[in-house]
Symmetry: C2
């Protein structure tokens, strides 16, 4: 295996001989090799122990054959440095012990120091770049300000976002202050990841699809735009992924970035048109497709690739994280199908 | 209060002096008057006792001031007549005792008889038309075939739809048979509702937004299209509501209907353009807006109304069901705001 920057070339919309692919949550529970490590360490310990984070980050590169590694970490890690108590309850996901409920809680938050507070992430990145030198590029990532703020306010997972939206609407000044301190934290965190060696970064706005377009535009977009503009100055590609927000792509793309991530709820041909030629696109196979028979997986991968055609700048990905019950053999079949069919479409040689 | 067919005129895209409004799940737990009845009867008993269903259906008409009544019922009621065991577990939502898992399960299903199996619904509609004769029109409804099939296969609520999608992909013939018997059931059910007196019907595809557009087009759209075409022959307006599917509205509208329902994830101005002039539109305020201060509720209602302008055929609604913790006074404030501001926009007189 020789180092291949295919993924980075696709981010920059340069011609590629085939379509690179990686999968959101590719270092995860669907892999028995991951579960073997997870069995002996709790989730936060894995995130905070560079050797473990490095090991599971590398697993899908070596075993599944993806074209990029993405750091194993959690989007909520920077919250600890902001002054929040973070835990992962069994089966219930993240829990914030001291959620943000009002203006005075907001004013108690500080901008996290990426090195002092999350130095373990930077150390993992440094080790990973060393390990990956003959393989593939490394992607860093962070949660977008809205998604992080929603966890801080709700104190955990929700489907209604009542507390979060209530604060946003009832005290817009406190909301802006919260988004500002969060954005400052994420900017510093991503710049530190890039300095440590991340060759691209993805901004995950996992829950922004629960907002109406007008709330997104008024209360979120200015912050995400500032985030992406500041991080872009470091010169590595930025992937802007707003989950479940395809009906407001015209607003999402105004936040900027080099690549727009797409979930599976939109036709990638339609999305490419809405987004226009100034961005690369990433996506967008339904992750549940991996529960289908292999020939269906292959047909659906071909369908996505054919809708994109020879457009410069496509990174194949699932439209959401790979599900924990996925058969790894099916993930490998997808990688093979994308590799083979995209080589046919893109000619197998740099145009 | 004199009978006002404002809602029906808007469905038919006739000029209206203001914008009619109702709210999905308007007969529900946010009203203390509803909870008082619910305290003494379980949910299924309320659905199956016409006097109780009638009483709670009328509550929001009398107390909140909406411009249409919608029958109190559950989308899963017709499943019993198809041969499925339906229960509502406390806090866990619907449970199907004998879910559909393969082709032989599908072949054991029968088309439900709307009168023999769900006569209580038709009786409630007859009583409601009598009670509502001096008030507002009555909307009937049903779940769309995909949403019903997803419950039948999963056996309850889910966020992943693994079993449902697996059957759809691994045995398309069984899937088509399941969708066909379900569609036949829903056609008969809605035609019986119309015969009993429903003056419009809404088709709820609550979970279709979990499908990719290509799966929707291939595996769902032909069935929903047949459903709406058959029901439309009865001559009352059909509202086609595909939840969380705004990024595939160009496909959803091909299923037909007189009115396209919109959730809150799309700008209603954009949606009106994508849908075109041949449909009325319904929506699309974020239901959580009702947790905001009253002046924010008013501003956000005005925003929706102004984006629609004087376009013929707008029915104001929430983008999803009203949340159980909503303050009824806030729901009333919304009704007032829509009434006042839309009268200003639409001139307060038929153009």
């Amino acid at each position: 295996m020789a180092y291949d920057d295919l993924f980075l070339r696709a981010c920059r919309r340069e011609p590629t001989e085939r379509t690179p692919m990686w999968m959101m949550r590719q270092a995860g529970r669907y892999m028995p090799e991951y579960r073997a490590i997870r069995e002996n360490h709790d989730f936060l310990t894995m995130c905070k122990t560079p050797e473990l984070a490095v090991e599971v980050t590398l697993q899908p590169v070596d075993l599944i054959g993806v074209d990029a590694a993405i750091l194993f970490a959690d989007i909520l890690l920077p919250l600890e440095g902001m002054g929040l108590e973070l835990a992962f309850a069994k089966h219930e996901g993240p829990v914030i012990g001291n959620p943000v409920r009002d203006r005075s809680d907001v004013r108690n938050l500080r901008v996290a120091d990426p090195v002092a507070d999350t130095g373990y992430v930077m150390e993992a990145i440094r080790q990973l770049r060393h390990e990956l030198r003959d393989k593939v590029p490394l992607i860093g990532f962070a949660g977008a300000p809205f998604t992080l703020a929603s966890y801080m306010i709700e104190g955990g997972s929700t489907r209604a976002y009542i507390k979060c939206k209530s604060l946003m609407w009832s005290d817009p000044q406190a909301w802006d202050e919260l988004m500002t301190v969060t954005t400052d934290t994420v900017i510093a965190y991503l710049l530190a990841q890039i300095e440590a060696g991340a060759q691209a970064v993805q901004v995950f706005d996992s829950w922004v699809g629960f907002l109406s377009p007008s709330d997104y535009e008024r209360s979120v977009l200015p912050h995400t735009t500032r985030l992406i503009a500041e991080v872009s100055k470091a010169g590595v590609p930025v992937i802007n992924f707003a989950n479940n927000a395809a009906a407001m792509l015209s607003k999402v793309k105004r936040a900027g970035g080099d690549v727009i991530g797409l979930d599976w709820r939109v036709d990638i041909g339609d999305a490419a048109e809405w987004i226009g030629p100034d961005f690369a696109i990433q996506g967008n196979l339904d992750p549940m497709t991996l529960f289908a028979p292999v020939e269906v997986i292959e047909a659906k991968a071909r369908e996505v690739l054919e809708k994109v055609g020879t457009r410069p700048g496509h990174i194949f990905n699932l439209g959401h994280g790979i599900h924990k019950d996925t058969d790894p053999e099916h993930a490998k079949a997808l990688v093979r199908a994308v590799r083979e069919h995209s080589s046919r479409i893109r000619g197998g040689g740099v145009a």
